[in-house]
């Protein structure tokens, strides 16, 4: 291996991430000088097109931002508009929301763990190669994902862009028998998910550590999914510090860079990370006993003993653990479920501003709406997790590319691709994504 003064790597398309974009890594004199995550897909202006629309419309309109996590958009939108209108949804309707959200976590995590991320740890090109090498693991992932798909379809009305969600709840609430029909597949999926946690625990993980502040919702009632308070855990701090959602836009500030069409964010002026690692660090003690067992099997240690994982490669383990948790939570909710007297709470319009935040599979998703007295939207703000994570992904790339500069171009490119996939970026949310260029001068 030689140390070259100038090199350039180019990847025409980064596989196994959502959307399109490019990555440029500049190297000069053996040092990575700059990293640019270049998201060039045209912005979609959802916040602008929401202006003038009725307060009842954001759940359906914003669901179209993403085909992977439409439930997250629906739930954050509902919470924000209901907040503006002074309505709080509770009881079985809130349980149904959490159940629907569990379905989205299960299907999203199962897809990423088994088909998108695992091949990186096994030296395989893609899910098809993994299926050839380890058919049983892919079959197991398919069963888990299908259990999540079925949950979303049963409650949401259809698997893609659910149509049964409305402001205040649902157009129609399922009866107990409809949900009970899902139980056998969910139980089987739970067994499968425990096996997956042990499977990923056997992978070889590069030794790495990110030092960005973590941002996740926290909820005293349970592991935050569908609600919670923004909470920050800094790399040098053991104590998680919450802040009111009303301060979100003062703390999480969006900025524009010339090389990306997607807005990015900083938290109190620093690049931060949201998503599975942040959730696990902030809320891991609230996981169920089976999920905590799965965490140990996945090699994450014991969060109750304060073992915070900051290795981005190990996000696959956290996703496996969260899948176990979500399946158990789904079974718990179904067991206790009694249909609500009516499937939704009325949400009459009033003038005001409301905010809502939930934990999308990829991290904290924030919505804010300002309504006039007729309920028409005057202003909207949506801050998705992948948009927030762009800076942290660049930090990881800078660190990982610097450590791998001695590698041949092809190997270094694969390292960079892996570094991006650690965060399961959803570019259609942030706006879309990825070609890679490394310039060495």
């Amino acid at each position: 291996m030689t140390h070259r003064g100038a090199r350039m790597l180019r990847v025409e398309g980064l596989a196994r991430v959502e959307g399109e974009g490019a990555l440029r890594v500049g190297v000069e004199g053996g040092t990575v000088t700059d990293v640019e995550l270049q998201i060039y897909e045209p912005p979609r202006f959802f916040e602008a097109l929401l202006r003038g629309r009725a307060h009842t419309e954001p759940p359906d309109l914003t669901a179209r931002i993403c085909g992977i996590c439409p439930v997250a958009y629906q739930m954050s939108a509902c919470r924000a508009v209901e907040d503006a209108c002074g309505v709080a949804v509770s009881g079985p309707i809130a349980d149904l929301r959490r159940l629907l959200y569990c379905g989205e976590w299960i299907e999203s995590h199962a897809l990423h763990v088994h088909l998108l991320h695992a091949p990186d740890f096994l030296g395989l090109d893609d899910a098809v190669a993994l299926a050839r090498a380890d058919r049983a693991s892919v079959e197991r992932g398919l069963r888990i994902k299908q259990a999540g798909n079925a949950l979303v379809e049963r409650i949401g009305g259809r698997a893609i862009h659910p149509v049964n969600v409305r402001l205040g709840g649902f157009h129609r609430a399922p009866d107990r028998a409809e949900l009970a029909g899902l139980v056998p597949a969910l139980r089987k999926a739970l067994d499968d998910a425990l096996e997956t946690a042990a499977w990923v625990g056997g992978f070889d993980y590069p030794d790495d550590r990110g030092d960005q502040p973590f941002l996740a919702l926290s909820d005293p009632a349970h592991y935050a999914i569908d609600a919670g308070t923004p909470t920050v855990l800094r790399a040098d701090g053991r104590e998680a510090r919450p802040f009111p959602l009303t301060e979100f836009e003062q703390r999480v500030v969006e900025t524009q860079v010339s090389y990306s069409t997607a807005l990015r964010s900083t938290l109190d002026g620093e690049r931060h990370l949201t998503g599975p690692l942040a959730r696990y660090a902030v809320n891991g003690r609230q996981l169920s006993a089976p999920a905590l067992d799965a965490a140990r099997a996945a090699g994450l240690g014991d969060i109750r003993e304060g073992e915070v994982c900051r290795n981005p490669y190990r996000s696959i383990g956290v996703r496996a653990v969260e899948t176990v948790y979500a399946l158990g939570e789904a079974l718990r909710i179904i067991e206790a479920y009694r249909p609500p007297p009516r499937p939704y709470e009325p949400v009459p319009a009033r003038a005001g501003t409301g905010r809502g935040a939930t934990e999308a599979p990829r991290g904290l998703l924030y919505h804010r709406y300002r309504l006039d007295a007729d309920g028409l939207i005057e202003d909207a703000c949506i801050v998705p997790p992948t948009a927030q994570n762009q800076g942290a992904i660049e930090d990881d790339l800078r660190r990982i590319a610097q450590a791998g500069l001695d590698l041949p171009d092809e190997a270094l490119t694969r390292c960079c691709e892996r570094a991006v996939r650690n965060h399961d970026p959803c570019i259609s949310c942030s706006t879309h994504f990825l070609d890679l260029t490394v310039e060495r001068k």
Binding site: G13, A15, R16, V17, E18, G19, E20, R44, R64, G67, I68, L111, H112, L115, L116, D126, A127, V128, A131, R132, R135, V138, E139, L142, K145, Q146, N149, A159, I160, S428, H432, F433
Partner: protein, 169 residues
């Protein structure tokens, strides 16, 4: 009965020519023989794999990127060729129908027969209206799909009538 006929219409109706699949679904839904399953798909391979059983005949309807491009031109691909196609990166995490066919093959989940009918698109931007060449080609595409479905049902009935001969053929 020895399997069904399943039509999987892939695409996004809000991405112009990518909506060819869903548009064909609307055109044929009430014209297919009873028992035919017409399903919409966003191309997610795992959802696609759940749409059929091994004994089914599957007709996939898709918009295609082709280079060099002849927008509106129709294509018919069998499973082997379909597996060689990969979807543009705008699909879910870079996985699409081509990967679905490859995964089905590796996992032993290929249906009895899988055929893809595709129209070459040219505009996959935001919007609900297809480009003029694709819009003009959609009736012919729907007609080809209906012919394929009719032929598939003839095969199903022949197998029902003489399963030994059909399995040996």
């Amino acid at each position: 009965m020895n399997g069904r006929v399943v039509v999987v219409c892939v695409g996004n109706e809000y991405r112009r020519d990518d909506g060819a699949g869903p548009r064909v679904a609307a055109m044929i839904d009430h014209r297919v023989p009873e028992g035919t399953k017409v399903a919409l798909s966003d191309g997610d391979p795992i959802r696609m794999l759940a749409l059929w059983e091994p004994e089914d005949v599957v007709v996939v309807v898709e918009a295609a990127h082709v280079h060099p491009s002849h927008p509106g031109r129709l294509h018919r691909l069998d499973a082997d060729r379909a597996a060689l196609t990969t979807r543009a990166a705008s699909s879910s995490h870079g996985l699409g129908p081509g990967e679905a066919v490859q995964l089905a093959d590796v996992l032993g989940r290929l249906p009895r027969r899988l055929v893809v009918h595709a129209v070459e698109g040219t505009d996959f931007g935001w919007g609900t209206e297809p480009s003029a060449p694709v819009a003009a080609a959609l009736p012919a595409l729907a007609g080809r799909v209906l012919d394929e479905v009719a032929a598939a049902w003839r095969g199903v009935r022949a197998r029902d009538a003489d399963p030994v001969a059909e399995s040996a053929s």
